[in-house]
């Protein structure tokens, strides 16, 4: 089987349709993951042992099991208890929840990396809990973790093909449907690969910049 450029141009518009959905899912998933992660990180630090423990185990469970199965679960099992989500919404929730457990670790590391001296200085300045978080800890914790967060969002982007399993017509699904129609795998799959590679290489540049911009904090 030979590479066929005409075929490439023919299927391009279809694939671009898929790209749009892929990007949409990634963006929405990232926003959700950023929020879920902060929630988990704070809950795990909670004074309430039961909350901290159960959130901890839940996060471990999500982190230790494949996103693909979780997506099946959200899409096919949840309707049994009356939660019927459109494919894209189910996909975004799956991505957000799954990656939220990763970003939670980033938040945790970011917070732990603020030296103990800063907590103590805040106390010596008689700042209360809320003021310590908002004025001292988070402003120092968040900038250094931006690159790590971005890293996970790029990883999430590369996992969006999983959404094809729950009928979201993202890039991979479009490519498969093209392959199904014309019985040719080489061009669509290679194009999908090239597309991911290009975005990834661009994101490497973006990451370098983020690292440079936010990576360290001068003390």
């Amino acid at each position: 089987m030979e590479w066929d450029w005409n075929f490439v141009w023919e299927i391009m518009p279809t694939l671009i349709q898929g790209v749009k959905i892929t990007i949409l899912a990634t963006v929405l998933g990232s926003v959700l993951a950023a929020i879920v992660g902060l929630g988990i990180a704070l809950a795990r630090r909670s004074e309430n042992r039961i909350v901290a423990r159960s959130v901890g185990w839940f996060a471990e469970f999500i982190r230790g099991t494949p996103l693909l199965v979780q997506l099946y679960f959200i899409f096919y099992v949840l309707p049994d208890i009356g939660i019927l989500l459109p494919p894209l919404v189910a996909g975004v929730i799956g991505l957000g929840l799954h990656y939220g457990t990763y970003t939670a670790e980033v938040y945790r590391a970011g917070i732990d990396n603020v030296p103990r001296g800063q907590w103590e200085a805040a106390k010596a300045c008689n700042l209360g809990g809320r003021h310590t978080w908002t004025h001292i800890i988070l402003p120092q914790a968040i900038p250094p973790m931006i690159p790590a967060l971005a890293n996970y969002f790029i990883a999430m982007f590369k996992e969006t093909p999983l959404l094809s399993a729950i009928t979201v017509l993202e890039l991979m699904n479009q490519a498969k449907s093209v392959a199904n129609t014309y019985y040719r795998y080489i061009e669509p799959m290679t194009l999908v690969g090239a597309f991911f590679l290009v975005i990834s290489l661009c994101s490497v540049v973006l990451l370098r910049w983020l690292e440079h911009r936010y990576g360290r904090i001068e003390r």
Partner: protein
């Protein structure tokens, strides 16, 4: 005779199985300047951190300015202090750390004004005016807009002192405030502290390895060893005529290592 401003009564403190403070008692008079000296690991830092409520005590009592620090009296009963009580007590105490612990993401001015504005609701203008006075006092009025990373160690430590003073505490705690500094920068910080000691009637507790400075600065010296006060007295007594053998051998080693007393 006035009442002591700090009254430490038989407190003990362990880290795991290791007993750092063992039934320690001491009293400090208002306005007194106290130097805490002693070998590494003897608990000097720990007692300061306990007074600043950075560590909890396992037993005993502490009174600050006539009030219990770690306990509250409610209906004649002594209960463990809650966060509100601790916050109120902390207003009386300020602390300067060995490693400065400035807030690296805030400029010098913001470091000094943050706490008064947030905890006492001082208006920005008033807070900045007071901050400028304090920065002037420590000789850094021209660095108000600088970020901590742009300062030398000595300058950082002087900012840290100004920051602690901004809350006008009655008691100031200093933990080896010069030991992280290059030798050439030590003097500028000690000068500020001398000035402070001379000009205010604040109570000051100082942990230091600079025996010469401790000698000039302190009204009274406490010598710590293994979580207890082994000897105390006027600087001249302790440094020139230590009674305890442990004190003598400690001072001898320090002097041999090249420090002036």
């Amino acid at each position: 005779m006035p009442a002591p401003i700090i009254k430490v009564d038989a407190i003990s403190k362990s880290f795991g199985a290791f007993k750092v403070l063992d039934g320690l008692s001491m009293q400090v008079m208002p306005g007194e300047k106290l130097a805490l000296i002693g070998p590494s690991g003897s608990g000097k830092t720990t007692i300061l951190r306990i007074l600043m409520t950075l560590e909890k005590i396992d037993g005993g009592h502490i009174q600050i300015d006539g009030e219990q620090l770690y306990h509250m009296e409610r209906n004649g009963q002594l209960l463990p202090a809650d966060e509100r009580h601790l916050a109120r007590m902390r207003q009386k105490i300020g602390m300067v750390f060995q490693l400065f612990n400035l807030f690296p993401h805030k400029c010098v001015m913001d470091n000094v004004t943050l706490a008064p504005m947030l905890t006492k609701g001082v208006a920005r203008a008033a807070a900045e005016k007071r901050a400028m006075e304090l920065l002037d006092m420590v000789g850094l009025a021209d660095k108000a807009k600088a970020m901590p990373a742009q300062l030398s160690g000595g300058q950082k430590q002087r900012v840290a002192i100004a920051r602690a003073l901004a809350l006008s505490p009655k008691i100031m705690l200093f933990d080896e405030v010069t030991s992280a500094l290059d030798p050439e920068l030590v003097e500028e910080v000690l000068n500020v502290m001398r000035k402070l000691a001379a000009e205010t009637d604040m109570t000051m507790l100082l942990v230091t390895h600079e025996m010469g400075f401790a000698h000039d600065f302190a009204d009274r010296v406490l010598f710590f060893d293994r979580g207890r006060i082994v000897e105390e007295g006027k600087p001249d007594e302790i440094f020139r005529h230590p009674k305890q053998e442990r004190t003598q051998s400690f001072l001898k080693k320090i002097i041999a290592a090249g420090h002036r007393v």
